[in-house]
Amino acid sequence: MDDTQGVFRAAYIIAAIVYGGYAVTIWLRAKRIRERLSRVNGRTGEPGSGPAR
């Protein structure tokens, strides 16, 4: 079998990148919204939602 190692490695690596990367995008998007929220709340003097635990 020629180069079955190649597709096998490609598949596993791509999967790790895609799934892991997707989790990271969720985290990044949440971070961005939290920052905007605390800025908006901070502007009116109210305490913002605290840092994510």
Binding site: M1, T4, Q5, V7, F8, R9, A10, A11, Y12, I14, A15, A16, V18, Y19, G20, Y22, A23, I26, W27, R29, A30, I33, R34, R36, L37, V40, N41, E46, P47, G48, S49, G50, P51, A52, R53
Partner: protein, 241 residues
């Protein structure tokens, strides 16, 4: 999965991180699967290492179908009860489903190329169904992106999701009956032996378990993100932005 308190914009989603303990557990499960599949599972005689793609292809498909089922059910609940939590769940599940479905469409051809010699096989039910479901999910997410009013967005996307679910048996049957003559048995990509030897079976089943956990964990995380977004929208509406 708590509801957002609109009255007090000070409280974010309880300071809960989108990436929580559940996700960590799921990630560890997937990592364990990787280790087992790569190091401790024997190679299949005829297909070699390519067959190992099976251990992430099928679990990805199961994750994808689970996610879209959740979207369809949440959409029905939304149409019936108008609860925005159902709408959030539908959206979260759809996006996660898209990711899993994309992986099915990537791993499928990679494997198909090695065992059938072609990158795409139209008679493979799972691949073809996954392709068209992928389009439905993309359409669903684009539709959501194109509507600003939350009530209309929820209604329209819920309708699309339910119709999409209704579509599945028809795609299945039409592929089966129009492609049947091209291939002896319209099957799904699977290893050539009718049953897997014990070592491989354990890896396979743990794969399904690990990816199901991953799917649910990602849906939970994405749901929390939806809550944050809705909170942001509410705050902006309040302040007249």
């Amino acid at each position: 999965m708590t509801s957002v308190s609109r009255q007090d914009p000070r409280h974010g989603v309880g300071g809960k991180s989108v990436i929580g303990g559940f996700f960590v557990i799921a990630a560890l499960a997937v990592a364990a699967l990787y280790v087992r599949a790569i190091l401790f599972t024997p190679l299949e005689a005829k297909q070699g290492a390519a067959q190992k793609i099976y251990y992430i292809h099928v679990p990805s498909a199961i994750g994808a179908y689970t996610a879209v089922t959740i979207t369809a059910l949440a959409s029905l609940i939304y149409l019936w009860l108008k609860d925005e939590r159902a709408d959030r769940m539908a959206e979260a599940s759809a996006e996660v489903g898209l990711v899993f479905m994309t992986m099915v469409l990537i791993t499928g051809p990679l494997w198909a190329h090695k065992i059938w010699g072609a990158w795409w096989v139209w008679w493979d039910l799972r691949l073809t169904l996954s392709l068209f479901l992928w389009f439905v999910i993309v359409g669903y997410l684009v539709l959501r992106g194109a509507i600003e009013d939350p009530a209309m967005r929820g209604r329209y996307s819920a309708v699309l999701a339910v119709l999409g679910a209704l579509l599945i048996p028809f795609i299945h049957l039409s592929v089966y009956f129009s492609m049947a003559h091209m291939h002896p048995d319209p099957v799904v990509l699977k290893p050539s032996e009718p049953s897997l030897p014990r070592e491989m079976l354990i890896t396979f089943l743990s794969g399904i378990g690990a990816f199901l956990l991953l799917c649910l964990a990602l849906i939970q995380s994405r749901y929390r993100l939806s809550e944050l977004k809705d909170e942001m929208a509410a705050v902006e509406a309040e302040r007249g932005y």
